[in-house]
Subunit: 392 residues, 2 copies
């Protein structure tokens, strides 16, 4: 039987590795002492649950079965100032289900939070990058991942994805929707795709007292005109779940008495539909060209990043929906995941699905991140129900 108290107790024990001392906050970046200690503790829990602990070369910690199994899990590393649930929730929920379901394996992926790359452990597991490529990644403090992983207690060799039948990841939403709508469970339809472009407008730097308005080529004004036009044009193309963001802006020379001669900024847009992302990209590029022409800017574009959307597997998703309706009837919804998750990488090699529980106030990547324990237990029960349906 699923034991909600044991599940919550395990979650709180995991929180003690790297506890920040501020609320329930945790400081447990990939390969830190706290992270390595937490992974050793997890391997012990896995052994006690009757599974075979296995630490792969990246430091992904698996609990394996002899036969084919459904893989449940997430990651146990955190942001430099992280919450106690984030990836830890999916790992401990997977462990609890594995304690009672003999056809379930469990995993904690490594470096999901991107101390070195982004979702690095699942990138290697899913074959998006090789271990050699991962080893060359470098943290902000200059450490390479290759050096950092020498701190692992042991290396049991790679795990072949084909030993698993699928992957289900439970996670906090990291957004405000479930909390705002009063739902307990989100069954994920897609992990949205994301495209991003870096833009520079170059106009003419001038004295802000002596340069008449009609002779200015003011880069900030050009950015503002672009932003207004882009918002207007995207409205014809987007859905209520599409998002777009100008999150990074650097003016030059950025002085009150100088007409800005240059601005660099990012434009990022996310949607579950790759065709819509393409239509949005055309609008972004056309609007940049047109506004640059109108405002006398020289336009340069750098580094388009294109992460494709990932659709969830229909069978696994149906099992989660059935579980949600059984455990929390009428208090769940389907929704896209706006954030990236390890499931994106695992989808390269296995059918995947995800479920969310609410994030109070939508807060994440912060010591203040939290979820009502009743919602955590509801999520655990939905996961157990779905796993039973898939493996039964």
């Amino acid at each position: 039987m699923i034991d909600a108290d044991r599940f919550l107790e395990n979650l709180h024990t995991l929180r003690s590795f790297g506890a920040s001392g501020i609320g329930n906050g945790v400081v447990r970046p990939a390969y830190s002492d706290a992270d390595i200690a937490a992974r050793s503790w997890l391997a012990d829990q896995i052994a006690q649950a009757g599974l075979t602990p296995h630490i792969d070369p990246m430091g992904n910690v698996f609990g394996l079965r002899d036969g084919p199994a459904l893989l449940l899990g997430s990651h146990s590393d955190t942001q430099p100032e992280g919450g106690w649930l984030d990836g830890a929730l999916g790992v401990i929920a997977g462990l609890e289900v594995a304690r009672v379901n003999p056809h379930v394996s469990v995993v904690s992926f490594q470096d999901e939070e991107g101390r070195f790359g982004a979702l690095t452990g699942s990138s290697v597991f899913g074959g998006a990058i090789t271990q050699d490529q991962a080893d060359a990644l470098t943290a902000k403090d200059g450490t390479t991942l290759g050096d950092a992983r020498s701190a692992l207690p042991r290396n049991d060799g790679p795990v072949d994805p084909s030993r698993f039948t699928g992957y289900i990841e439970m996670h906090i939403e990291q957004g405000p929707v479930l909390d705002a709508e009063g739902d307990q469970i989100g069954v994920v339809t897609d992990i949205v795709g994301s495209r991003q472009i870096e833009v520079t407008f170059t106009g003419q730097q001038n004295h802000a007292g002596t340069t008449p308005m009609h002779l200015r080529r003011d880069a900030f004004q050009a950015l503002s005109v672009f932003n207004t036009a882009l918002n207007d044009r995207l409205r014809n193309v987007v859905t209520p779940r599409t998002v777009w963001t100008i999150g990074h802006v650097t003016l030059h020379p950025n002085a009150s008495s100088i007409v800005p001669g240059r601005v660099s900024f990012s434009v990022q847009w996310r949607d579950a539909d790759d065709d819509r992302l393409t239509r949005m990209e055309r609008i972004v590029r056309d609007t940049l060209d047109e506004i640059a022409g109108q405002t006398g800017m020289q336009l340069s574009l750098h580094g388009l990043r294109n992460l494709r959307p990932t659709a969830m597997d229909a069978t696994l998703r149906a099992a989660l929906e059935a579980g949600a309706e059984a455990v929390s009837p009428g208090k769940w919804r389907t929704m896209p995941s706006g954030a990236l998750h390890d499931a994106t990488n695992v989808a390269r090699v296995l059918p995947v699905a995800m479920l969310f529980v609410p994030s109070i106030g939508g807060i994440s990547h912060d010591f203040a991140e939290d979820t009502d324990e009743a919602d955590l237990v509801t999520g655990l029960n939905v996961l157990a129900h779905a796993a039973q349906r898939v493996t039964g």
Copy 2:
């Protein structure tokens, strides 16, 4: 007789003090070795011209007459990367006129470019600040003005402004108007006033993937909406010579994947009419309030700066207009000065006027700053003509 060749030769000699070796550029900040050497050279030239050199406690270098005199001049310190003309032009033109007109004195003010304050030498001369207050000003390198001025070769004591009948400053325009319009001379009507306010909008920092558009309180979007509304509303109030600028913008946390939670920015506006500046301030404040309310921002305002406009003296200005029409008929105009000048400070104690010559391409505060030598000589002749009319 005014000697155009001697004037240009003196200008080029002054340029050799702190020559940057890049074009005609000059590096001669206040109290630097090059600045002190240039001021000693200037004192020698003043003596040779038959005036009494006088270095006041600030390092303002005067050429005095025994009786009442019209004061001509500007400043000979430069920006860290300065042009050869900027203030030097007005000093050397004043010296040339003083060589031939016995009722003319000359001055080079100190620290106009603000290594320590802003227009510091004329601020003390005009009584806007005391010498003690000036001495406490500190440069970016930690040097106090009090320490820096100990490098002066001598201290002849303060100069009483009442010994002068007025002040005329010749300067490069530092803007594009004369060059663009093909005029040789600008007779200044007013030195414009300038007001500036620092603003912070605080919204809500969020994940750019998981936060739906309708739940965002995006500080950059609020800034863009404010900018658009402000531009629209100011159009009813401004003249073609009014300017306003958002030159400084800092987003927080300024990351591509995070909805900006906070933005700090400057709003600056300049006009020759103080009433118009007040009407504009009301629009700026009302628009900030309204847009902050609309977009869910917390609004905070810091440090309003208010520099009043300075009208030029009618008699001195009429003399410059007569001189311009005599020397360069039909190729001059009246115009405001968008930049601050020493004349602003001197206006506290004397009637003042200014004339401009063109800046090629409107470039200033740059090694590339330049003016056609024919225009320099035209400016000199207008200045001499006006001085003759005022003192004759």
